[in-house]
């Protein structure tokens, strides 16, 4: 068998970084599919691009600055209506820090 481009352990590590949970079957399937995709991408190795600058933006556009003035934003109540949970005019989220009382 050819060398794996990505191992099952790497798949599980990347899933953790991406905040995704994969069942054993899903992880095995993901490993197989990503491995095939990455093997195809080996084709890029035929090119020596060490002297070629990267193109992060295809069309050069100056990053414009807006005037630093106070502006009205969207209505708070309307935004909070879309929150899974809200209270006291804010987003209600699971406990982030344990605080000793």
């Amino acid at each position: 068998m050819a060398e794996e481009k990505i191992t099952l352990a790497q798949v599980l590590h990347v899933a953790k970084l991406a905040m995704l949970e994969l069942s054993d079957d899903e992880a095995a399937e993901m490993q197989k599919q990503l491995d095939a995709i990455l093997a195809y991408m080996d084709g890029l190795d035929a090119l020596d691009v060490s002297d070629v600058p990267p193109t992060f933006h295809s069309i050069p556009i100056d990053a414009p600055m807006r005037r630093d003035v106070v502006d009205r934003c969207a209505d708070r109540a309307e935004i909070l209506e879309q929150a899974p949970q809200s209270e006291a005019g804010g987003f209600a989220v699971p406990l982030v820090l344990e605080v000793d009382s």
């Binding site: 195809y40 090119l47 992060f56 295809s58 879309q82 989220v93």
Partner: protein
């Protein structure tokens, strides 16, 4: 209404203005047709009866009051469901946004409302616009109106299907690597992918921010060009929106191609396996030449790497953009025992298989130790792809290829093999990576009566040339008077 449902946007607008039809009457007719056919086609995720009728009645009242009417007054339009519509559910065909109701309109939606268009509803797509067959929707497969067992293409498959099936004269989609052009080719309609920055992305739910553009879809080049006219232009709410004048796209449709240099990529044409596609493209080239265009050979030697480059860059950007879906501020939340578990459970339950695959691929390509080898390398090869076009545009004004290597493939045919699905994007990816404007317009039917699309690509902000050339192709070998049969 004569020719319903196939009358043009122009005929509707003129009829409404002249008083031979009302916007309400037109809207009711399209709503009824959408309602009747959607169970067969699954192209709409939401049909907004109330909003559509309200917009139509506003147009009729304006006319009665003698007020000037907008360029799309009374014309129904179908919107891809990744464009935010105030008060109307916007799902991205994802469970994670299944009940999301945006508190604001996308820039293009504001522009459409101002032009008097009637927003019929929101169309199905591959989840978060990731896919080429529309089979990645969390809410069911869209069917190709020309043959229901075929894919409509993706990711704007719902809008393409709705327009091709006469459920709306106009549609909007978004295009990251071919997502308006490929479904347009599969469904036998015209779609424009504008130059990156030409149309504001404000309110388009982000997939890959350096590639995403919103594009018009219609059954004729002129209608697509008229819609382009309405949505193009600068918007300060999108930092990458180009601050330059827009063109006269509709006017350009009448300019012809005399003296236009059309670049033919012989190495791509020669490699085509599908004889029908090759013959249709040759016929379109013949049509252009007959009207005075000059055919010149050009080469895009690095486009063979476009699939690798795109499927590193777009997933990398997606993995970053989709980090915002964490169950805190909007959308689905699946509670876990702590914050991290809540993130993970929410995202795992909310994202479908292809979105997860791309997030994984992108996270991998950006992760420590792999960034240089994958992500950065892809961005360097992207430069080579861009330089290929720079060289080509020294010799020609537009580059011509098929839009897709084959006509519409069958639903299910490529679903189990993501790499095969990605490879089918080979012609639409290079112009996306280079930020260039491109159009897909029908240039014939295959032997089993499936539409074939021609892609034309121009230099940045030269959309007008695309409109001129595509109109000549439409006149020579378009499908303007043939429609999918058997829909009723």
């Amino acid at each position: 209404m004569s020719r319903f449902p196939w009358q043009s946007a122009f005929a509707i607008r003129d009829g409404v203005e002249a008083g031979s039809m009302t916007a309400i009457e037109v809207t009711r007719a399209y709503l009824a047709r959408a309602e009747a056919l959607n169970s067969k086609l699954s192209c709409f995720l939401t049909i907004d009866h109330e909003g559509a009728l309200a917009a139509a009645s506003q147009v009729d009242r304006a006319r009665e009051a003698g007020q000037p009417l907008g360029p799309l007054a009374g014309v129904p339009i179908a919107l891809k469901d990744n464009l935010c519509t105030r008060g109307v559910r916007t799902t991205c065909a994802s469970k994670i946004l299944g009940d999301y109701i945006p508190p604001y309109d996308a820039h293009v939606v504001e522009a459409l409302r101002a032009a008097g268009a009637v927003l019929l509803g929101k169309t199905n797509l591959d989840e978060f616009a990731m896919g080429s067959s529309n089979e990645n929707s969390a809410f069911g497969d869209v069917h190709n109106p020309w043959a229901l067992d075929r894919a409509p293409g993706g990711s704007s498959g719902g809008s393409a299907c709705a327009v091709a099936a006469g459920l709306a004269p106009l549609g909007l989609g978004s295009d990251t690597g071919g997502s308006v052009r490929q479904p347009a080719a599969f469904c036998g309609i015209t779609a424009i992918k504008p130059t990156y920055g030409r149309v504001s992305r404000y309110g388009l739910i982000a997939f890959a921010s350096s590639l995403d553009q919103i594009g018009p879809m219609a059954r004729s080049v002129r209608e697509a060009s008229a819609l382009m006219q309405v949505i193009a232009g600068h918007d300060r709410r999108d930092a990458t929106s180009a601050n330059r004048e827009t063109g006269d796209y509709l006017g350009a449709c009448g300019r012809g191609v005399k003296g236009l240099r059309v670049g033919v990529v012989r190495e791509l044409l020669g490699g085509l396996q599908d004889g029908d596609v090759r013959a249709a493209v040759e016929a379109a080239l013949g049509g252009l030449e007959a009207q005075g265009a000059e055919l010149v050979d050009v080469s895009l030697p690095h486009s063979e790497h476009a699939v690798s480059v795109y499927y590193l860059i777009a997933p990398a950007e997606a993995s970053s953009n989709l980090a915002r879906f964490d169950g805190m501020r909007y959308g689905l939340r699946v509670p876990g025992e702590d914050l991290a578990a809540t993130y993970t459970k929410t995202r795992s339950a909310g994202f479908g298989p292809e979105v997860r695959r791309r997030i994984m691929l992108g996270t991998y390509a950006l992760s420590a130790g792999y960034y240089d080898a994958f992500y950065l390398k892809a961005q360097r090869v992207r430069t080579l792809i861009r330089r290929d076009y720079d060289a080509a545009f020294e010799r020609c004004d537009v580059v011509c290829t098929p839009t897709t290597p084959t006509p519409a493939f069958a639903l299910g045919e490529k679903k189990g093999d993501p790499l095969q699905m990605y490879l089918a994007d080979i012609f639409t990816l290079p112009p996306s990576l280079a930020g260039l404007p491109a159009i897909s317009t029908p240039c014939g039917l295959s032997s089993d009566r499936l539409p074939i699309g021609l892609q034309l690509v121009a230099a940045p902000f030269e959309e007008e040339r695309l409109c001129s050339a595509a109109q000549v192709v439409e006149d020579a070998c378009g499908l303007v008077d043939s429609y999918p049969s058997g829909l009723g």
